[in-house]
Amino acid sequence: MAQPSVTEERLEHLQHHFIDSDQQFEASKMGMWIFLVTEILFFGGLFLAYIVYRAWYPELYLLASEELHTFWGAVNTVVLIGSSLTVAMAIRSAQLNQIKGLIINLWITIGLATVFMVIKYFEYTEKFAKGILPGAHYSYEGIAHEKANIFFSIYYMMTGLHGIHVLVGIGLMLWLVYKAKKKVFHSGYYTPVEITGLYWHLVDIIWIFLFPLLYLID
């Protein structure tokens, strides 16, 4: 990534314990990467549960995944990939000192993330209505497998936790818009935009794994 040059002597962002902007930027970025590693391990537990139960009951996964709407899942995948593009464009705008472009791109990203959540909301409510609830509350009769409840427990845990991450991302980007409007960011300082972008890409990538694993089994 471009080197934040300190041409215009704006250093109010520099915290007292860093020597220069470079050091601060590099430290923040490394911190975010490490945080993403912890996120991967956090989700890793759920992926492991998925793998274990799929190895035990392969036919269950085939049956149960037919209850999921591949079309809406695919739409959501496109929506999230699109939002990854716009968040990258937001970072680009910040690097080029185009604050207006930064704000517009952030708003588009927030919009796409909201679309994702709305689609997810309709998917969930449709299942709840049928009685597809996690674990012991499961009452749907349409799947001929005694462990169907386990599949949906895993489904709800994975997509639910992912959904919470999307909501956190929306919150972060609203905060970025607020900061950008207050003219905090410029080409010499856009660290929060950069690391929020990293976070958002991870949220996107996790969905890219969830979509085929849950929806596209057949």
């Binding site: 250093l11 520099l14 430290a27 936790l161």
Partner: protein, 581 residues
């Protein structure tokens, strides 16, 4: 990514000697005043002290619980508490000691205080995150208290399913508390890794990094890789109780052994979170009090990383009797033996460091000796438990209890005390009574062995752990063990007394009472708010006792006095080694 490697490897900087100011008037403890300044401080030293106060509190609580347990075990039948109460008390003793005392003890208290100073940095990379992780710890603690006062928890600290999913009490609040606590641990580890990578003073290359920092680095890696798995495990357990999702509950089609795999994938590495930073302290203390360069620097540094790595591959040895395949058992048993190698490497290097050194048996060194003795016993008995056939006999007996107390208390707690006594003068600028410190250490050593040695024998004879009753033949062992616990509490009372006395009326400490070459001792005691009034420059290894002290007190000559004023410090130099003169 932006570096100037190509241009600046030979850049020269002017250095001069900065002698630390003795008995400074102004230091980090009095530069900002008032309770609010403490609560909102982002200074790593003060955050370390706030952690110290918190873990002391929890150590006291869990210690009292231990005394209650031992007192109950004086007689084979009921002495003064019911079986249910006993279950809750041992659960809380274990959970509080592990999650609230041992895990934060060295990294969050001593690590927080010392790490930036050993790097010559003004603070950790993310000071606000550091403060946040303290408050996350406090919130986790509040949840735990809520659990205790709304029904308690009787599952043991491991929260095994399906019992934990169905028993009464408030398991959910407890697991949620531990879940929150995990984030505190993750954020501390994250902060340390970034700080070690990015905030080193000029001249601190990877082979001049104090071994304490290698220990903390390895610990941080474990913290960030293992703790998220505990988080998801406890979240699933919480959901199990809240929504009956059934992943771990056989009644709903789930698998309880899967829970054990998940849990130990964190909790075995967590055992190394509780010991590896102790190794770092022991390296510092032994070198300082032997006045000798550490023997096998890289062997000690890399063996910490090796332990961190192998530690991720041995979790199955907690489940030898849980119905694992015999192939898995053999593999896990073999990998468990491997942990003995890097651990042995460390012990031998420490002994070799002392060989022909000028050993000064001050209190920190005494604790380090106690550590070597007790931890070695703990380590060897661990190897025995890792042997498959032996473990079938010893599993879930007092032998296991004795083993992990030798490792955790004989190892980590003694290392913590070694570190606490070593850095106490730096932290508070006061000396403690050397005489009483030695007395307390000796009593602690005797009491500890009285308590836990008989438990090896009992365990080998078949006394199961976590039982409230026992058959008469074990009574003499239990009584002896309980008396040992009382002896230990006397040692703790003495320690509390002389440390308190030191705080209130202790003699002012000089900046470097032990004559150490380490960087944190080249600042005044207590240090100024930003640790150093200059940017330190390092030209020697941290244990080069054969070189004069003046070479360890260098700093950039041109720099203005350290603190405040943002922009002005964006001076010429950045990382990488320039000064090789």
């Amino acid at each position: 990514m932006a570096t100037n490697e190509a241009t600046s490897n030979v850049k020269r900087i002017q250095v001069r000697r900065f002698k630390p100011e003795e008995f400074p008037e102004k230091h980090y403890l009095n530069e900002e005043k008032g309770i609010w300044a403490w609560m909102t401080t982002v200074d790593h030293k003060k955050i370390g002290l706030m952690y110290l106060a918190s873990i002391t509190f929890f150590f006291f609580i869990a210690g009292v619980l231990a005394i209650l347990l031992r007192t109950e075990l004086l007689t084979p039948a009921r002495s003064f508490m019911d079986a249910d109460v006993y279950n809750q008390v041992f659960t809380l003793h274990g959970a509080i000691m592990i999650f609230f005392f041992l895990i934060p003890s060295v990294p969050a208290v001593l690590g927080n205080f010392v790490l930036p100073m050993q790097l010559g940095a003004k603070d950790v990379a993310f000071p606000r995150l550091n403060l946040a992780s303290f408050y996350i710890y406090v919130i986790g603690a509040l949840f735990t208290f809520f659990a205790i006062f709304t029904g308690g928890v009787d599952t043991g600290w491991t929260f095994y399913t399906p019992y934990s999913a169905t028993t009464g009490g408030n398991v959910m609040a407890m697991t949620f508390g531990v879940f929150i606590l995990g984030f505190s641990s993750i954020l501390t580890g994250l902060n340390f890794i970034v700080t070690i990578h990015k905030m080193r003073s000029p001249g601190i290359t990877w082979n001049r990094l104090p071994l304490n920092l290698w220990g903390l680095y390895a610990t941080s890696i474990i913290q960030i890789l293992a703790t998220p798995v505990l988080a998801i495990t406890l979240l699933l357990l919480t959901m199990e109780r809240l929504l009956s999702i059934g992943i771990f509950d056989p009644a709903l089609g789930g698998d309880p052994v899967l829970y054990q795999h998940f849990f130990w994938f964190y909790s075995h590495p967590a055992v190394y979170i509780m010991i590896v930073p102790g190794f770092g302290i022991i390296s510092e203390v032994i070198s300082t009090f032997s006045r000798k360069v550490i023997f096998g620097y890289w062997a000690i540094a890399l063996s910490s990383l090796a332990i961190a790595f192998i530690g991720f591959l041995v979790w199955g040895h907690h489940m030898f009797t849980a119905g694992q395949s015999s192939l898995a058992n053999m593999v896990f048993s073999f990998l468990t033996f491997l942990v003995g190698i890097p651990t042995g490497i460390k012990i031998f290097n420490w002994l070799a460091t002392m060989y022909k050194g000028s050993i000064d048996m001050k209190a920190p060194m005494l604790y380090a000796m106690v550590f070597l003795f007790l931890f070695t016993i703990g380590g060897f008995t661990g190897i025995m438990l890792g042997a498959l056939s032996v473990d079938i006999h010893l599993h879930d007996t007092y032998y296991v209890v004795a083993h992990f107390h030798y490792v955790m208390m004989g190892g980590m707690v003694m290392a913590f005390f070694a570190g606490l006594h070593y850095w106490w003068p730096k932290m508070f600028g006061k000396m403690y009574s050397e005489f009483w410190a030695r007395i307390a250490c000796a009593i602690l050593f005797i009491g500890f062995n009285m308590t836990f040695l008989p438990q090896f024998v009992m365990g080998a004879q078949g006394m199961p752990r976590r039982y409230f009753n026992y058959i008469d033949q074990f009574q003499s062992f239990h009584v002896f063990s309980t008396i040992g616990a009382y002896v230990m509490s006397v040692a703790f009372l003495i320690m509390a007394a002389y440390l308190l006395h030191s705080l209130l009326k202790g003699k002012r400490a000089p900046s470097n009472p032990w004559g150490s070459r380490a960087l944190e001792w080249q600042s005044s005691s207590p240090p100024p708010l930003h640790n150093f009034h200059h940017v330190p420059v390092i030209i020697n290894g941290p244990y080069d006792y054969h070189k004069p002290m003046s070479e360890f007190q260098l700093g950039i000559a041109a720099s203005h006095n350290g603190h405040h004023h943002h922009g002005e410090e964006a001076v010429t130099v950045d990382k990488s080694e320039k000064e090789q003169a």
